[in-house]
């Protein structure tokens, strides 16, 4: 696994010792000399914000880029270049919390702000509370094929890290698992890979007991395939009541679109929105698909939870046909996550719900009603 660290200051110096065989870029010759004294560390002397320097450090083959300079301008520029070259995991330091929106627009794997971290730590010292415990305890990732695992694995991993949930990759073919095994071995996580015989849904069923979330990659299916067979998402929906997260490129859920109807999916949908709202300090925007007292009650309760846990809740005002406006919102890509009730007696059932699940640009959490 090739990891590039940009910035050889105090943070970079300590970080490079934690990640053996990584490459570190630093423009100050004195700091490079100090880094060279460390065993097994490869250094590159140069400006990390220079594309050529990054390429010489092996950017094109990098699995991860970690940017830790104290200058937000440099950090942003390096992250943009890494993004351009399609690096999957980009983690950056952000000095000024006011730059959050700008950094968020890059859709990075993680943005770490020392100022915010310290502030929260102090807040915790002054108002000590119990360690946060989330209701998601077990996340399942079906290994459908080698091509349909990467996104689901990345998203499930991030959620597992945030919630301490047990992460189980379930499949029926050992050879489909590659890089994921290495990543799990590097992280201190309650995770395992289970290979079972038989059909993938049967394999999932063996481990489905107690699962709170199933995370899958959408399958690429030809028109003909769509006619003759059901997608894995449809098969899972037919078999399990567990919410299914259809993964796209993971980005912290800063904006969540909650599609609310009065079906049986209502409570779980709002509970999931509350969970993610709390974890990601999200803005949750509720699209009410049908006027109902139960939705209004759930919305008020979520709004109160938002005040207590620092996330925002808004009701979207709709002019025109609610279903068409929903499609427009989902397709806009403005929401990092859309929560979709499944099997509810609205238009979002059947074909249109299917289009949303299989073609939406961002992740979709399907909650069965």
């Amino acid at each position: 696994m090739r990891i590039i660290i940009v910035g050889g200051g105090r943070t970079g110096y300590h970080l490079v010792q934690q990640i053996p065989r990584s490459v570190i870029i630093e423009k100050n010759p004195d700091k490079v000399e100090r880094l060279n004294s460390l065993v097994g560390v490869k250094t590159v002397l140069g400006d990390g914000a220079d594309e050529k320097v990054l390429l010489s450090a092996g950017l094109e083959d990098a699995d991860a880029v970690i940017i830790v300079t104290a200058d937000d301008q440099i950090n942003y520029k390096v992250a943009s270049i890494a993004k351009k070259y399609g690096v999957r995991n980009i983690i950056t330091r952000m000095e000024n919390p006011d730059n959050e929106t700008r950094f968020n627009s890059l859709e990075l794997s993680a943005i770490l702000c020392p100022t915010t971290v310290v502030a929260e730590y102090i807040k915790e010292l002054i108002h000590p509370g119990a360690e946060k415990e989330y209701f998601i305890k077990k996340i399942l990732v079906p290994i459908v094929s080698p091509d349909t695992l990467a996104k689901a694995f990345e998203e499930a991993l991030q959620l597992s890290l945030k919630t301490d949930a047990q992460l189980i990759l379930v499949g029926n073919n050992q050879e489909y698992v590659g890089e994921e095994r290495k990543i799990l071995s590097l992280l201190d996580l309650p995770a395992s890979i289970e290979i079972e015989k038989g059909d993938i849904t049967a394999a999932v069923e063996k481990h489905a007991k107690g699962a709170d979330l199933i995370v899958v990659d959408p399958e690429e299916m030809s028109y003909f395939e769509k006619i003759i067979k059901k997608s894995i998402i449809k098969r899972l929906l037919a078999r399990f009541d567990t919410p299914i997260l259809v993964s796209r490129h993971f980005k912290p859920y800063k904006r969540i679109l909650l599609l609310a109807d009065s079906s049986n999916a209502l409570l779980v949908s709002f509970e999931m929105a509350r969970l993610f709202g709390e974890i990601f300090r999200s803005q949750i925007e509720i699209m009410v698909l049908e006027e109902s007292e139960s939705i209004e009650n759930a919305r008020h309760s979520l709004r109160d939870e938002g005040k207590a846990h620092d996330f925002k809740v808004e009701k979207l005002g709709v002019e025109g046909n609610v279903n068409i406006e929903t499609v427009k919102l989902v397709k806009s890509g403005d929401y990092d996550l859309t929560i979709l009730p499944w099997g509810s007696p609205t238009l979002l059932k059947d074909d249109l719900g299917d289009s949303i699940v299989h073609n939406a640009p961002k992740s979709i959490l399907v909650v069965k009603g």
């Binding site: 079906s263 025109g320 046909n321 279903n323 397709k331 007696p345 238009l347 074909d351 249109l352």
Partner: protein
Amino acid sequence: MELTLQPLALITILAMVAHFLSQRLKAPVIVVEIIFGIIIGRNLLNLISDDFVIDFLALLGFIFLMFLSGLEIDFNQIESRGWGNIFKGLIAFSLILALSYIGALAMGYGFILALIFSTTSLGVVVPTLRNLGISKSGEGQSILLTAMAADFLTILLLTFYSVWLRKSGELPIFVVSTLFIAYGVAYIVGKKALWHFPEFLSSWFKPDQPTEVGVRSAIAIMLAFVAYSRSIGVEEILGAFLAGVLLSVLFRGGSILEEKLYAIGYGFLIPIFFINVGINFRFDLLLNRSGLLIVPPLVFIAFLVKIMPTILVNYKSLSIKESVAAGILLTSNLSLVIAAAEVGRRLGIIDEALEAAIIFLAIFTSTVCPIIYRKMTVEKTPQPM
């Protein structure tokens, strides 16, 4: 032919007055419209008869009525009630239809009268249940589903029956099925368009559209189905009804567009249809010997075929009194029964005396049934404020 607009002006003024009068009398507006038609029609004042403009607009009103009936079918409501309740509604309708057929045979008429007995007016049932605040109760839902099944299935059966009669007993399944194929294709195209062109479709439902593209499109879809139905010899009301169902299924409630279409339909064209029904109403035939002989059994059978199945289907969930009340409410029939009578007369299977009796039945049941139902139910249900 000279085009005069005085009759139209008179009818539109009467349509406006009908609204206020119906509120004052607490009677359905359609009843008042038909009575106005009778007053100005051939029976009494004879102010209007055989007017091309009125006949054309009345036909358009008839088509619009069926289109809006299709649009009004709320599939969200039907599906949310579950298959058990839908099945119950279908069983109730089947029993009503079977009894109606026996009743029609007893009166010496065929299947068309059975269909007329089977119809129920959602336009009377829904407001009555809502006014009493029981539309969401078990009893209310059972009545609503039976009424919806009756509404939907009678139109389908009426169309098939009329096609069957026109083609001298041979049911041209292939010809009729092309209309349903057209419906299926339009449905699939519409579903795809919803995902791929939401921006375009969104403009249909926006209030601030100077060109009213939504209304234009809805009317174009409606008339395309009507024209195609006509060209293959199928009753045009099925085309209009299917176009309404198509929009209802595709968009599941686009209130602004619906409101605009209701405005055109109920604000202009549909009152002309009902006033024209009154204009052509043969009051004289109703009062002669054969008319007077038809009315009592007609009213008796109309009540019987609704009350009996309602008691049978709901014997576990409702008391006898509640079932009888529900059956009485379901007896109220108005627009569809008049539509069926119109189709029957055009096909020559209903004579004018029977048509007059059927229109009388519609006026009678839609006025009396909600009042009886309210009286029977009001003891246990608080009146809404």
